[in-house]
């Protein structure tokens, strides 16, 4: 353990591939909304408006178009590539983020509760998120968008192992 170690290890597992579909759908919805708003503004902009406003109204739809390409075609795949998680014998850990990366690791012995969350859109894609909570409000791990089956297996397993080794030092 010295200077040659460049960064913490990336957890072994990725989230469900269906997450790409979910993120894409979310991107479609938000960019469609943005496109409708900006195009409406561009069409309805009164000719008498001040020049900077007119320029803004003219440019906005293109900006919205670029945003749409990013959130529909690029971001979902990128997100899929940067979300990682893993459960080891003693801990559960995740890696999220692209430009700013965050690794979170929690010892199973300190887990207080394990939640499974299934949002309406997640159900559509057969996904579920697992939230692992500890005594600290900041020591929380959330593994988003697992296959519902995987989440259903991981969460009870974590809870059972936590109950078996829990210690009360905290």
């Amino acid at each position: 353990m010295s200077a040659r170690t460049v960064s913490p290890r990336t957890p072994a597992l990725q989230v469900s591939r269906n997450a790409i579909g979910l993120w894409t759908l979310q991107g479609v919805i938000s960019s469609a909304f943005l496109l409708v708003v900006t195009i409406t503004a561009a069409v309805l902009a009164p000719a008498a408006a001040p020049a900077p406003l007119l320029l803004l109204a003219a440019v906005a739809p293109y900006a919205a178009g670029v945003y749409a390409v990013v959130v529909v075609a690029i971001r979902p795949r990128l997100r899929y590539r940067v979300h990682h998680w893993e459960v080891t014998d003693e801990s559960v850990f995740t890696l999220t983020g692209w430009l700013a990366q965050t690794w979170t690791i929690i010892p199973i012995a300190r887990i207080q509760t394990v939640d499974i969350n299934r949002g309406a859109m997640q159900r559509l894609f057969g996904l579920a998120s697992v939230a692992v909570l500890t005594a600290s409000s900041k020591g929380t791990v959330e593994i988003v968008h697992l296959d519902a089956g995987v989440a259903g297996a991981v969460a009870p397993d974590l809870a059972r192992r936590a109950a078996a080794v829990r210690d009360e030092a905290t």
Binding site: A3, E86, W103, P107, T170
Partner: protein, 512 residues
């Protein structure tokens, strides 16, 4: 103690009647009505006296009703509090969740020799997790405190330290603060407030706020107050006053604020004593309202030494304990409200734990980052203002940027971390410098953060997550190698997966 339901001390009736505690809600709606009637002149002095008498009787009646319907009881497992006039509420606090007991007596309570007892239970769901007994006799408060905290120790199989020899009240057989042998005496005093330390109070924001708030209220009403003109001129600067006059006024105001802060500090902390009693750490303080906070030593997981800029200039500090599951940590966890740095350090070492490992400084890249963040924004603002042709504002922003150099360097010099066999320490901050010492067993997780800029500079910010205090304490901008070394030193077992390059076998789950 008792297992039968018990009532509160009857003397609380007097206190609550005088302060209109229960009747206040009703009086606030009746009061204005009475005032209107009185103003219209339909009420003679007899009527006024009548109103006062009726209000007092009503207050007494409410206080009595509440007293009558309030009971508490302690059995082997819990403290049970029942209350409510019509809709009854029952709160059970399991004794193994009791984290601290807080005994408070206002001047009125002290006159009646009773005290308010607050039982702080580990917050599982957040919110109001305490039971309040308002009020019990001073003797009962002491006994209850013993029982509530002692039962907890017995329940968790902790060997009580000389249990039974502890007494309540400020007994005079307390040994002096000089070093005691480690043979766990029944009582040991760690700190006593030296009145000279109160001179630090004007350097602490929370005490400064008191005279400022009072002053603000007074200033708002100053026009309507019958103050002689000469005195009013001191507060209101008249138009066209000379510079000397203004300076004098400012000086006067500063003096008043400083004295006010000193008084506020004195009222809050007069007679502060920190001592251990059995398995608890007891902090007592207050000039008018006397407050006794008992913390369970077995639940203390570290401490925070904090110094605002003012306190740093005079080498003073405040000391707070980190206690798992304790609410309102900043107030209840206070181990030394204010005092010289070396005293605070000595108290921390004696009452919590000794930590002697010198802190490791962070790499030069951290200095560049601190400087960039302190100087960059105001410099950018200065450039923009310059382009907008606003030279005066630009000069001001440039001055801030130059001050940022000093701030950045100071912020860098604060950074450091270290670990010994059982604890870790982190330090950061310039305007508020904090040194946190944390037991390793208190950790419930690590968060390793790296922005794009940090990654390029080889830096990492670690967050040590704990179930005490703020929930997490940062190791800001250490080198990535330092950060991983720290993880390895502090949590070699469960943090290992982050460190090893070969992936561990996943126990469960597959990717979709």
């Amino acid at each position: 103690m008792t297992s039968a339901p018990r009532r509160l001390d009857w003397r609380v009736l007097i206190v609550h009647t005088i302060t209109f505690r229960q009747a206040r809600a009703i009086l606030s709606s009746v009061g204005p009505l009475a005032a209107i009637v009185a103003l219209q002149g339909r009420l003679g002095s007899v009527g006024l006296i009548g109103i006062v008498v009726v209000a007092t009787v009503a207050s007494l009646a409410f206080a009595a009703l509440r007293w009558w319907r309030f009971s508490y009881e302690i059995d082997d497992e819990r403290l049970l509090v029942r209350q409510g006039l019509v809709s009854r509420s029952e709160r059970a606090v399991p004794l193994d969740r009791v984290r601290g007991v807080d005994v408070e007596a206002s001047p009125l309570h002290r006159l009646m020799r009773i005290a308010v007892l607050r039982v702080d239970a580990a917050a599982g769901t957040g919110g109001d997790d305490e039971a309040v007994l308002d009020a019990v006799s001073v003797a009962d408060a002491g006994r209850l405190r013993e029982v509530l905290l002692a039962r907890r120790r017995v329940g968790e199989q902790w060997a009580p330290v000389n249990e039974g020899t502890a007494t309540d009240g400020g007994s005079t057989r307390v040994p002096d603060a000089t070093d005691q042998p480690a043979a766990a005496p029944a009582e040991r005093v760690f700190a006593r407030l030296d009145p000279r330390w109160l001179l630090y109070a004007p350097l602490i924001g929370s005490y400064l706020a008191v005279p400022l708030a009072i002053g603000g209220t007074l200033l708002r009403d100053v026009g309507s107050l019958p103050i002689p003109t000469g005195l009013r001129d001191l507060v209101e600067v008249p138009d066209g006053a000379g510079v000397g006059r203004i300076a004098l006024n400012v000086l006067g105001a500063l003096t008043v604020v400083a004295v006010g802060a000193l008084l506020a500090g004195a009222v809050a902390n007069w007679g502060f004593v920190l001592a251990s009693r059995g398995g608890t750490l007891v902090a007592e303080r207050g000039l008018l309202t006397r407050r006794t906070v008992s913390l369970e030593i077995a639940r203390i997981r570290g401490y925070v030494l904090s110094q605002g800029l003012g306190l740093r200039l005079v080498r003073a500090a405040r000391l707070t304990a980190l206690v798992t599951g304790l609410g309102d940590q900043n107030r209840r966890g206070q181990l030394l409200p204010l005092g010289p740095l070396r005293v605070a350090e000595a108290v921390a070492a004696a009452a919590v734990r000794r930590f002697n490992t010198p802190l490791v400084p962070h790499p030069p890249a951290a200095l560049r980052r601190r400087l960039f963040r302190a100087v960059g924004p105001p410099a950018l603002v200065a450039v923009v203002l310059m382009l907008l042709d606003l030279p005066v504002a630009a000069a001001a922003a440039a001055a801030v940027a130059i001050a940022g150099i000093a701030l950045g360097i100071d912020r860098y010099r604060a950074l450091g971390h270290a670990a010994d066999a059982a604890a870790l320490a982190v330090r950061s901050g310039s305007l508020l410098r904090r040194r946190v010492v944390l037991e390793q067993r208190a950790l419930v997780g690590w968060r390793v953060q790296q922005s794009w800029f940090q990654r390029r500079a080889g830096l990492t910010t670690l967050l040590a997550c704990v179930g005490a205090g703020e929930g997490g304490y940062e190791v800001l901008d250490c080198s990535t190698a330092q950060g991983l070394d720290l993880l390895h030193a502090v949590s070699p077992g469960w943090a290992a997966p982050l460190l090893s390059q070969a992936p561990h076998r996943a126990a469960t789950g597959r990717s979709g």
